[in-house]
C-alpha cells in the first residue's frame, strides 16, 4: 500500500454485517435494491443509514420482496449501472428464479448472502443450505471465514464480476450470526484505496444508451439456448483465473493474500479437514491444540471459492501432504445423495487426479447448531479411524441429539 494510505487504515471492532455495509459504503454502488431478512436485516439498516445521511450516492430501492430486489438489480445492471444487494436463506430461495436470469444475462451484480437455514421448520440461524441450493444458478460463489474476509471479498467481487472475461454476478457468503452478528477486529481500508482498487464500471450494451437501442433478455429457442449456456461455462472457467488475479492484485495493494483455498498446516498433515466458512476458524484452533497436546498432525483446507470449484487447488494441497484420510464438513444437506454437496465436489476432485483417499462426511451446524472444539475433535477421531482402516459410518452428524 502507498505510504500515505497506510496512515488511513483503521482497525475497528465490527460485526460481519457492519463490515459488509462498510464495504458497500466504500464501493458506493449506483443502485442498491434490498429487502430485510434475518440475519441480513442489520446490514440493510446500516446501509440505509448511509443513504439517509448522504454518505453514498446510491439510488436505494427498499423493495417489497427479495424477488423484486434481484429483479431491480437486473434492471439496474442492464441499464449500465453498478448494482448490489444482500439477502439470507429464504430470501435467496425466493430470488432463485431471478438468480439464473442475472447470470444468464451476464450482469455483474454483487450480493452478500448472510447464510441462513431454509424452512421448514422455520429457523433464522446459520447454515449454508441457501447458497448450496443456489449453487447451479450460474453465480460465482465465494465464502468468508470472518468479518474482515467478508469485507475484503466484497471489494474483490466488484472486479471479479466486472472483468470482461467473466461478466458474471458474484455472491459472497458469511455464516449467519456467527459472522454476521459477532464483533471482531476488522481492518478497514481507506475510502480512496477502495475506490482506486475497484475502478469504474465499463457498461456493456447499456439499456440507457437510447441512441443505440438494444434488446436484453430475448427468447432463445432450441437453436441457440445451448450456445448461451456454453458461453456461461466459459465465463465461469475464466472466473477461476480472474479470481486468482484479483486476489493477487489485492495482496499487492493491501498486503493480504487471497486464493481459491486457504491451507492451514497441511504440508506435514496426516489428516485433512475440508471446511467452508466460520467453522474453519474453530478447526484451526483444534488443529493447533491436537498438534501441541497429542502430536496429531491435522491440516485444514478452507474453501473460499466454491463456484468455480477449485478442484486442482484442493488436490495439490492434499497430494503435497501426508494425507491418510480426509474429513469433509458440510453445513448443508443433500438429501438422497452421497455426503453433503462439498463431499461430492471433493470426490470429483479425487477422480480428476485418479486418487481415492478414505473420506468421511460430516454434516454440521444445520439451523445454527453449535459446532465447538469438542465436535471437531470427535470428527478428527473418526477420520483417524478411517485412516487406520476401521469401519466408519459414511455420513456423520456432529452434535446431533440421537
Amino acid at each position: 500500500m502507498r505510504p500515505e494510505l497506510i496512515k488511513e487504515v483503521k482497525y475497528v471492532p465490527y460485526s460481519g454485517n457492519m463490515a459488509a455495509a462498510e464495504a458497500m459504503r466504500q464501493i458506493n454502488p449506483d443502485v442498491v435494491a434490498a429487502y430485510p431478512i434475518t440475519p441480513q436485516t442489520e446490514l440493510m439498516q446500516f446501509f440505509a443509514d448511509f443513504v439517509a445521511n448522504g454518505l453514498v450516492d446510491t439510488e436505494y430501492i427498499p423493495v417489497e420482496s427479495e424477488h423484486s430486489a434481484m429483479s431491480a438489480c437486473v434492471g439496474a445492471a442492464a441499464a449500465g449501472s453498478r448494482a448490489m444487494t444482500a439477502t439470507a436463506g429464504p430470501g435467496l430461495a425466493y430470488m432463485w428464479e431471478v438468480l439464473g436470469i442475472a447470470s444468464g444475462m451476464r450482469l455483474p451484480i454483487i450480493m452478500t448472502v448472510v447464510n441462513r437455514a431454509l424452512s421448514a421448520p422455520i429457523n433464522i440461524h446459520g447454515d449454508q443450505s441457501d447458497m448450496m441450493g443456489a449453487r447451479d444458478q450460474g453465480w460465482i460463489q465465494i465464502f468468508s471465514e470472518n468479518a474482515e474476509e467478508q469485507y475484503d471479498n466484497l471489494i474483490q467481487a466488484i472486479r471479479i464480476a466486472e472483468d470482461e472475461r467473466t461478466r458474471l454476478p458474484v455472491m459472497v457468503g458469511m455464516d449467519g450470526f456467527v459472522i454476521s452478528h459477532a464483533i471482531e477486529r476488522v481492518r478497514l481500508l481507506p475510502d480512496r484505496a477502495v475506490e482506486e482498487f475497484i475502478g469504474e464500471l465499463k457498461p456493456m450494451y447499456p439499456l440507457l444508451d437510447v441512441d443505440n437501442p438494444v434488446t436484453h433478455g430475448s427468447v432463445a429457442m432450441t437453436d441457440s439456448y445451448m450456445e448461451f449456456k456454453r458461453q456461461q461455462r466459459e465465463a465461469m472457467m475464466n472466473a477461476y483465473k480472474v479470481i486468482r488475479e484479483v486476489g493477487e492484485a489485492f495482496e499487492e495493494a493491501f498486503g493480504k493474500k487471497y486464493e481459491h483455498i486457504e491451507t492451514y498446516k497441511t504440508e506435514d498433515a496426516d489428516y485433512i479437514l475440508i471446511i467452508i466458512g466460520s467453522t474453519a476458524g474453530t478447526a484451526k484452533f483444534v488443529i493447533d491444540k491436537l498438534r501441541e497436546e497429542k502430536g496429531i498432525k491435522v491440516g485444514l483446507i478452507k474453501i473460499r471459492t466454491y463456484r468455480p470449484f477449485p478442484y486442482y487447488d484442493v488436490m495439490d494441497a492434499i497430494e503435497a501432504s501426508n494425507c491418510k484420510a480426509i474429513g469433509v464438513f458440510d453445513r448443508a444437506e443433500t438429501f438422497g445423495a452421497v455426503g453433503g454437496p462439498l463431499y461430492s465436489d471433493i470426490a470429483t476432485a479425487m477422480y480428476l487426479r485418479n486418487k481415492q483417499y478414505p473420506m468421511v462426511s460430516f454434516i454440521y451446524g444445520l439451523g445454527g447448531r453449535d459446532t465447538n472444539v469438542h465436535h471437531i475433535e470427535e470428527a478428527i477421531d473418526k477420520v483417524m479411524q478411517a485412516a487406520a482402516g476401521k469401519e466408519v459410518s459414511f455420513i456423520n452428524y456432529l452434535n446431533l441429539n440421537e
Binding site: D30, E59, V63, S68, S71, G75, L208, V214, A220
Partner: protein, 326 residues
C-alpha cells in the same frame, strides 16, 4: 401532488403521427388482429411526436415472446425482458440506475426519457401484482401498461383474474358441470388508483384519440402512472380477426370497458356512450361466450349485464364524489 400541465402539450393530428418511423418493427410474430401491437404502436406515435425516448421492461407474455426471438428483435427502442412477474421491479431498477447515473453526470442531459413496464393481464393482475404494487407505492417515475386480453393467451387461453365471468378458458372450460369461469373480473385500474398514484387510466385502441390523450398525460406525469388497455385476442376469444376493432368498440359502447381516468385523485369518465348497448352485443361477437346464448343461460347474460351496471354506477359515483367542491 404536482399538477399535470397537459393543456399546452398537444398530440399532433393522426396524419402527422403516421409520419414518424415505426419503432415496433414489422415482422413480429403476434397474431393477425392482435390488439397488443396496435396499443404499442399508438404509444410510440405519441412518444415520437412529443420527443420522448421510451425504455421498456416487458413481462413474459405474448408481446415479449413474439417480438424478441433471438437473433431477431422488433424493438427499435431499448427493451428488456426479465421474467413473468417482475416487469415493474425491473423497470424500477432501470429508473433508479437512470437517476443515479444522471446525477453523476454520466448520461446526456438533453434526452427526454420515459420508462414503460408492459405486461399482459397475467403479468399484471396475477403473478406480477406484488411487484407492480410495490413499484407504484414507491413512486418510481414510470408508466405501467397492461394490455389486458383477459387470459393467459400466450400459453393457450388459461384463465386469469382478468377473465370475465362465464368466459370459456382452457383451465376453467365450459362443460356439463361448468359454465366457464365462476368469478367476475378484477377491477384492476381501480386497484391501481387505490395506491394514490398521480395518474390511472383505462383505454381502448378503438378510441385512439382518447388513448393518445391519456398516454400523453401519463408521459407528462412525474411519478407512477397505470394504464389498463383493452387488447382484443381473436385466438383466445374466438372472435373474427377482422373484427378486432369492432369488438373493442362494442366493449366500450356496452360499458363493459368504461373509458375513464383518475388524475390526482379525481375520477373522470372520459367517454359516455349516448345509448349504451346491451351486453349481448359485445358477447355475441365472441365464441368464448357462445354457451351463454343457450336459452337456459339467459339469466347468466343478465348477471353479466348487472356487473357492467354495477361498475358503471360505481365509477359514476367516484366521479361525483371526487370532483365535489367542498
Amino acid at each position: 401532488m404536482a399538477e399535470i400541465k397537459t393543456a399546452e402539450v398537444k398530440v399532433p393530428p393522426l396524419k402527422k403521427l403516421t409520419n414518424y418511423p415505426e419503432k415496433l418493427a414489422p415482422g413480429h410474430r403476434l397474431c393477425a388482429g392482435c390488439g397488443a401491437s396496435i396499443i404499442i404502436r399508438q404509444m410510440f406515435m405519441v412518444a415520437n411526436a412529443l420527443g420522448y425516448e421510451l425504455i421498456w421492461a416487458n413481462a413474459t407474455g405474448c408481446v415479449e415472446v413474439c417480438t424478441s426471438i433471438y437473433p431477431y428483435t422488433s424493438w427499435r427502442s431499448p427493451w428488456i425482458h426479465n421474467a413473468f412477474e417482475n416487469a415493474a421491479a425491473t423497470i424500477a431498477g432501470v429508473e433508479a440506475a437512470y437517476k443515479a447515473l444522471k446525477r453523476k453526470g454520466k448520461l446526456p442531459t438533453d434526452k427526454k426519457v420515459k420508462f414503460i413496464a408492459l405486461g399482459g393481464d397475467g403479468g399484471t393482475y396475477d403473478i406480477g401484482f406484488q411487484s407492480l404494487s410495490g413499484a407504484l407505492e414507491r413512486g418510481h417515475d414510470f408508466i405501467y401498461v397492461c394490455y389486458d386480453n383477459e387470459a393467459y393467451m400466450n400459453t393457450g387461453i388459461q384463465r386469469s383474474s382478468a377473465t370475465p365471468k362465464y368466459a370459456n378458458t382452457t383451465t376453467q372450460p365450459v362443460g356439463s358441470e361448468s359454465l366457464g369461469k365462476p368469478q367476475h373480473k378484477k377491477w384492476m385500474p381501480e386497484v391501481a388508483a387505490a395506491h394514490g398514484i398521480p395518474y390511472v387510466a383505462q383505454v381502448a385502441p378503438s378510441h385512439w384519440k382518447d388513448f393518445m390523450e391519456k398516454f400523453k398525460k401519463a408521459l407528462l406525469t412525474e411519478g407512477p402512472a397505470y394504464i389498463n388497455a383493452f387488447a382484443v385476442c381473436p385466438r383466445g376469444w374466438r372472435s373474427k380477426e377482422e373484427e378486432g376493432i369492432l369488438v373493442t368498440k362494442m366493449a366500450v359502447e356496452t360499458n363493459y370497458w368504461p373509458l375513464f381516468e383518475v388524475e390526482n385523485g379525481k375520477w373522470r369518465i372520459t367517454y359516455r356512450p349516448k345509448n349504451p348497448k346491451p351486453i349481448e352485443e359485445y358477447l355475441k361477437l365472441q365464441g368464448r361466450f357462445k354457451h351463454l346464448f343457450k336459452p337456459e343461460n339467459k339469466d347468466k347474460i343478465k348477471e353479466l349485464q348487472e356487473e357492467v351496471n354495477r361498475r358503471w354506477d360505481w365509477l359514476n359515483k367516484m366521479e361525483e364524489i371526487s370532483n365535489r367542491e367542498e
